[in-house]
């Protein structure tokens, strides 16, 4: 035991000498988050030092000098009470507004983001590029380009966390969450799972490679040739017989809505709700179709739960999305 501890201390001493005290800041938002972080650190330091020094000063100055000493009474002026109620309130208001504005701004991806897809499963990250390449526990991205991740989980809740980019988002089963970042420094950064997900939670880690655009293009075309996600989706669409009820060219089959141009459009459901056709809605429609009942159709679609996995559903979604953009292209 002692041997173990001494070895640990030795290796720690080496590590300490080379240890950074700040994580790398490699995304467009990292600087702004750090700015707020330093402000908060400053406030914390100021008040901690203030309280500690006042306590120490009083402790020395007003130490008990005789056992039976009873000090004079002092009064607590209302003005003082109000001062130290109002000043913290104002600080809080400033902090809230600052942090919220930053959060809203940082949470909003630019219109022209590259889309990528993430599936979390115990205990690995599965990442899919729309062009086809897949990665496990690695994510290659080009520098300077905003990337938007659409993420879901195949089992429990995970959390996609890249400290260097200051981004984090839970990855939930049965839902899609999204996250975006714009890398600004070439390099290799940690990718962590930050939501406890079972036995090997600590090993659900990987690397993010930020590359020059040219390197990235090389990397994309370097691997073996694969079909793009929407092509794979199209194949699956035919295999599963989806086309017997859903047309892809705008024509009507009478049994189900056409999928052409559907993506991104609001749909009025039978129960009066209006939902926009997004990833979550398509996912629900495939695994739990009875929850998406459209007014002009019979609820006859069977569930495909268990027949398609999350990866295949993402391919189908990519295909539906590609139909949407085709229609818009035609219209232009």
């Amino acid at each position: 035991m002692t041997g173990l501890i001494s070895i640990a201390f030795k290796s720690a001493a080496i590590a300490f000498a080379t240890m950074p005290f700040q994580p790398p800041a490699a995304s467009s938002i990292a600087g702004s988050v750090d700015g707020l972080y330093y402000l908060l650190t400053g406030i914390t330091l100021f008040f901690t030092v203030l309280i500690f020094s006042i306590i120490f000063y009083f402790m020395v100055k007003y130490r008990r000098r005789s056992e039976d000493e009873i000090p004079e009474e002092t009064h607590s002026p209302l003005a003082l009470e109000l001062t130290w109620t109002i000043i913290p309130s104002l600080i809080c208001v400033v902090l809230f507004v600052w942090a919220a504005a930053l959060y809203v701004r940082n949470g909003r991806p630019p219109a022209s983001s590259t889309e990528m897809y993430v599936i979390g499963k115990q205990w690995m990250w599965h990442i899919q590029h729309p062009e086809g390449p897949r990665e496990i526990n690695e994510l290659h991205v080009p520098i300077g380009e905003p990337v938007q991740l659409t993420m879901t989980s195949q089992d429990v809740i995970h959390d996609f966390y890249i400290p260097a980019f200051r981004v984090k988002k839970d990855v939930l089963p049965g839902r899609y969450t999204s996250l975006w970042f714009q890398p600004t420094e070439v390099g290799t950064y940690h990718l962590f799972c930050a939501q406890y997900c079972g036995t090997n939670h600590g090993e659900m880690i990987g690397w993010v490679y930020v590359m020059d655009p040219a390197d990235y293009a090389n990397w994309l075309s370097g691997g073996e040739k694969t079909e793009s996600m929407s092509q794979q989706g199209e194949r699956l669409f035919t295999q599963l017989g989806c086309n017997s009820c859903h047309s892809t060219d705008g024509s009507s089959t009478g049994r189900g809505p056409t999928l052409a141009g559907l993506y991104g459009q609001p749909q009025k459901l039978e129960n009066g709700q209006t939902r926009v056709v997004d990833e979550t809605l398509i996912h629900d429609a495939i695994v739990n179709p009875s929850s998406i009942h459209l007014p002009n159709f019979q609820p006859i679609m069977p569930t495909y739960q268990g027949q398609v996995d999350e990866e295949q559903i993402l391919n189908l979604i990519a295909y539906v999305k590609s139909l949407g953009s085709q229609e818009r292209t035609n219209a232009q």
């Binding site: 039978e270 129960n271 709700q273 739990n288 009875s290 929850s291 609820p299 569930t303």
Partner: protein, 230 residues
């Protein structure tokens, strides 16, 4: 002094406990204690009601379909049974308050127990047992093949958790009533001391109120007017 103090821990026949100054203080304390317990109960059922409201909003058509699987006539009958039992409970307290004989108090208490038992009987025999046979008990007997399968399953989960928890409170209530009957038979209740009766009554009425909300939320607001249509 100390011996006397220890002895006073044993409740004396009139039900007055040593830590209080007056019987009125003791009565008030008992009543406040029970109200606080009911506040706890409100939040306890509240957790389920909150979940139910949220899910109903998320899965409205499925929840309406699920609701129509329940039989209103049994729900309504049980509501009436429980209201009757609340009345008899209130009358038993009143009998103690005005100094009626212990026979009268026991009569109303027993009647309350019979009505409570009737509620549970109807629930078991005509509802849960039939649900079991029809295969609409999630996790135990599930063969439902109508529309909105998963959403209906969710609704039935709520139905059984909520009514089950309510029935459990009824059973506890019946236990409390049994104790009250024994106390009444021993002549413990007088116009000056009926705190156990009164605070048990509060509990019984509370269980009634929970059902007053469960009945419309589970049975009635499922768009029954569309039955057979569409």
């Amino acid at each position: 002094m100390a011996d006397a103090a220890v002895e006073t821990h044993a409740p004396n026949p009139s039900g007055f406990a040593h830590q209080y100054e007056t019987l009125e203080q003791q009565h008030d304390a008992g009543r406040l204690g029970m109200w606080l317990f009911l506040a706890t109960e409100i939040l306890f059922f509240g957790g389920m009601f909150t979940s139910y409201i949220i899910y109903r909003e998320l899965h409205l058509p499925a929840f309406e379909t699920g609701s129509r699987l329940l039989e209103v006539r049994f729900g309504a009958t049980n509501t009436a049974v429980l209201i009757c039992s609340s009345l008899t409970m209130a009358l038993s307290i009143r009998s103690a308050q005005v100094g009626k004989s212990k026979g009268t108090i026991i009569f109303w208490l027993i009647l309350t127990m019979i009505l409570g038992a009737a509620f549970i009987g109807i629930k078991l025999r005509f509802e849960w047992y039939h649900d079991w046979l029809e295969g609409i008990v999630p996790g135990l007997s599930w063969t439902y093949s109508g529309p909105y399968q998963s959403g209906v399953q969710m609704f039935m989960c709520f139905y059984f958790f909520m009514t089950g928890l309510h029935a459990l409170h009824m059973v506890v209530g019946l236990g409390i009533l049994t104790v009250l009957v024994v106390m009444a038979a021993r002549g413990r209740f007088t116009p000056h001391y009926f705190t156990p009766l009164e605070i048990s009554g509060l509990y019984w009425h509370f269980v009634d109120i929970v059902w007053i909300f469960l009945f419309p939320l589970l049975y009635l607001i499922g768009g029954r007017y569309t039955l057979g249509g569409h």
